[in-house]
């Protein structure tokens, strides 16, 4: 898709065509991030489809997705570049046998040929027609030092390698950062990004998502599943299930050939939705004392307009 001819509507439509149901506000910020060339920071609870936005967008733009998964202890060497040490050593040994020129070797082993490109450098050096989508996933897992370093890369889109020089991006990559808010992101980094909070989907939207991903699911089952999830999210669980869990559950129900939700089915398959023992326990309790009234909920879901 040509980035110059984008409108909010086409972004929304294209994401939808690639099976990502999004609301207009998300489409607007994605559109803005592309046209303004500004990174987009996506926050939201786990499993609401933050990472998916970048993945789908790479497909929409028909470009490469470069992903940097953050973790504690991630440093510049893993994110940016590293020298290929074994290769460098082999070369210098070889030259030693062949009595090569010392000076030349010393410069040559620090040339691009001996450089291992890590995601950030790859994204900046990429020279396709459309710039790549750079996904910096779960930035909250990396430590503060890495954030500070990222700041430099994201503001100028250039990287300095002492031995080679400064490498500038020919075209700015589309940058998407995601965060689960397990810690606060520094203000300076936030200021450089557009910000969007992805909330849990509404009942209608969640239903649309399930039906898009699993067209074979019977419509009333999908409604029941979504109504159940909506209700459960309002309740006091340690870990509230996201859309990812809804989809897992729906696919499990399809695999098990179920057409209807009932208490037995719910209990059998609850492992798809709740991943903590306490939560499973809590759910059983709620079902038993009818605070979570399955029958009433199922009746209500049947009235829902598709």
């Amino acid at each position: 898709m040509n980035p110059k001819k984008l409108t909010i509507e086409t972004v929304e439509g294209a994401l939808r065509a690639h099976q990502y149901i999004c609301d207009r506000s998300l489409a607007t910020v994605v559109y803005l991030s592309i046209t303004m060339g500004k990174p987009l920071l996506l926050e939201g609870e786990a499993g609401v489809g933050k990472t998916e936005v970048a993945k789908v967008l790479a497909e929409v733009m028909e470009t490469k997705l470069i992903r940097l998964q953050c973790y504690e202890g991630l440093d510049a060497n893993t994110a940016l570049y590293e020298w290929n040490y074994p290769k460098q050593m082999l070369r210098s040994k070889l030259e030693e046998v062949q009595h090569g020129d010392r000076e030349t070797v010393a410069t040559e082993i620090f040339s691009e040929e001996y450089l291992v490109r890590r995601p950030l450098l790859e994204a900046i050096q990429s020279d396709g027609v459309t710039p790549p989508v750079l996904l910096i996933d779960e930035i909250d897992r990396a430590d503060m030092e890495f954030e500070a370093f990222l700041l430099e890369v994201l503001s100028d889109f250039q990287i300095t390698i002492p031995e080679i020089g400064t490498i500038r991006a020919k075209k700015r990559p589309y940058v998407y950062l995601t965060s689960n808010r397990t810690r606060e992101i520094h203000d300076a980094l936030k200021r450089r990004c557009l910000y969007h909070w992805i909330d849990y989907p509404s009942l209608e939207k969640e239903y649309a998502i399930v039906m898009t991903k699993f067209p074979q699911v019977e419509s009333h089952l999908a409604k029941q599943v979504c109504a159940f999830m909506q209700r459960v999210r309002e309740m006091n669980f340690y870990k509230r299930p996201g859309v990812a869990e809804t989809l897992d559950w729906a696919s499990a129900l399809v695999a098990l050939n179920r057409h209807e939700l009932d208490e037995a089915t719910v209990k059998e398959t609850m492992g798809c939705v709740f991943k903590y023992r306490e939560d499973l326990h809590h759910l059983e309790e709620e079902l038993r004392c009818k605070r979570l009234d399955l029958n009433q909920m199922l009746k209500a879901s049947a009235e829902l307009q598709a």
Partner: protein, 403 residues
């Protein structure tokens, strides 16, 4: 603190005179309103916001709103406030400018600007000065009693100005020492070192250049020391009243001397006060705290407070390298089972739990009260804290434990 509709209307009215013809002038005025309401906005964000308006259809209010929001708001917690301010500001007709807009009374969030102004000497000065002249006593302040625990949730607002803070710098020193002890930890990241625990290939290679690629020197690397996050949970219920002067100072010392400290106070409910005491200006901070913390000197529900903490904050603030420091006498009015369960949950998440109990100073004290009993199994350290001497002793204990 709750931002009321009046405050928003006030802020909008205040900048009504700045508003002019055209979107840009209005956008600038809107930016000021948001700043007034406490949303931090940088110049570059304003520029980008105005730039982004060129890309969206301005006749659609939704798109316009989303474009502004994506640029100007960078935190989920500010979103609701933004929406309210947006609704109030971008009405079809602008509100009438007030007759005397200059004397609009300053409202709380606006004081953010003042936070950074406090110079380094400010804190010590104020400590020496005692009660702050700025903190105004509440006229309708009821005298508060010192209950061991109170059966009722007494949501009293306590004025700090009654408490003279003239404690010497020795306390601050002792606190700083302790802070450094509990906050030093080995990092996973490595740095170059002459004597380390592994070879650094990058620098070994680099150093070999001067010998023509022959490896002569081995550069090693070792793990470096990193500051841990510290979460401080302070009991400010009635039974802790006689220690409150010390508590304030402890919270202050830890928060401002260390990187990555989060401070909470609890009685029947939990409040986060990190942002309130993050400045050198102690007088202003005291005022801010006393204005926003409800339930100061009230009853105690440690279990419920911990539950709130685990649910709302633990995910964001507590990791395997976090040290949680709880200061409380353990008198709990709530369900002891909840306390036990929440302590267990907290223990599973963090590195160390340190419980500081002022009552432990007494020779005859035994942790018999139910709350303390429930919490004991999950504590790494259970220590006394009540005076400068005990602080120094605490420092020594920690030194032994950490070394």
């Amino acid at each position: 603190m709750e931002v009321t509709t009046e405050i928003i209307q006030d802020a909008v009215a205040r900048y009504a005179t700045v508003r002019g013809q055209g979107t840009l002038a209005n956008l600038l005025a809107f930016g000021r309103v948001l700043k007034q309401l406490g949303i931090e906005i940088g110049m570059s964000q304003m520029i980008d916001a105005s730039r982004s308006l060129g890309f969206v259809n301005l006749s659609s209010k939704t798109d316009f709103r989303v474009a502004l929001r994506a640029n100007l708001v960078s935190d989920k917690d500010d979103m609701a406030l933004f929406e309210r301010a947006f609704e109030c500001f971008w009405q079809d007709c602008a509100p009438e400018p007030p007759a005397v807009d200059v004397v609009t009374p300053p409202i709380m969030p606006a004081e953010r600007d003042g936070w950074t102004d406090g110079d380094a000497g400010n804190m010590e000065e104020l400590l020496a000065q005692g009660p702050s002249p700025e903190a105004q006593p509440e006229p309708d302040q009821e005298p508060f009693s010192v209950p061991t625990y109170s059966p009722n949730e007494v949501l009293s607002r306590k004025d700090f100005s009654e408490m003279g803070i003239e404690e010497s710098r020795a306390v601050a020193q002792a606190i700083l020492m302790i802070a450094n002890k509990i906050a030093t930890q080995v990092s996973r990241r490595k740095k170059r070192a002459t004597k380390g625990d592994g070879i650094d290939p990058r620098w070994t290679m680099r150093k070999s250049i001067k010998y023509g690629g022959e490896i002569v020197e081995l550069v090693e690397r070792k793990r470096r020391i990193r500051k841990t996050r510290v979460v401080l949970l302070c009991d400010v219920s009635g039974s802790m009243d006689c220690y409150s002067r010390f508590l304030i100072q402890f919270m202050y010392g830890l928060q401002n001397e260390l990187w990555g400290v989060e401070t909470f106070v609890f009685s029947t409910s939990l409040s986060r006060i990190t942002h309130l005491i993050r400045s050198k200006d102690i007088a202003g901070a005291l005022e801010r705290i006393s204005n926003s913390v409800l339930g100061w000197s009230g009853g105690t529900n440690i279990g419920r407070s911990l539950q709130t903490f685990n649910q709302d904050f633990a995910a964001a603030l507590v990791s395997h390298r976090t040290v949680v420091v709880i200061i409380s006498d353990g008198w709990d009015r709530g369900d002891v089972r909840v306390l036990g369960r929440e302590m267990q949950r907290l223990k599973a998440r963090c590195r160390t739990i340190i419980w500081l109990n002022p009552l432990l100073a007494s020779d005859h004290y035994e942790p018999l009260c139910k709350g303390m009993q429930a919490a004991l199994p999950y504590l790494d350290y259970f220590l006394s804290v009540h005076s400068v001497n005990s602080l120094v002793a605490l420092g020594r204990t920690l030194q032994r434990l950490v070394a």
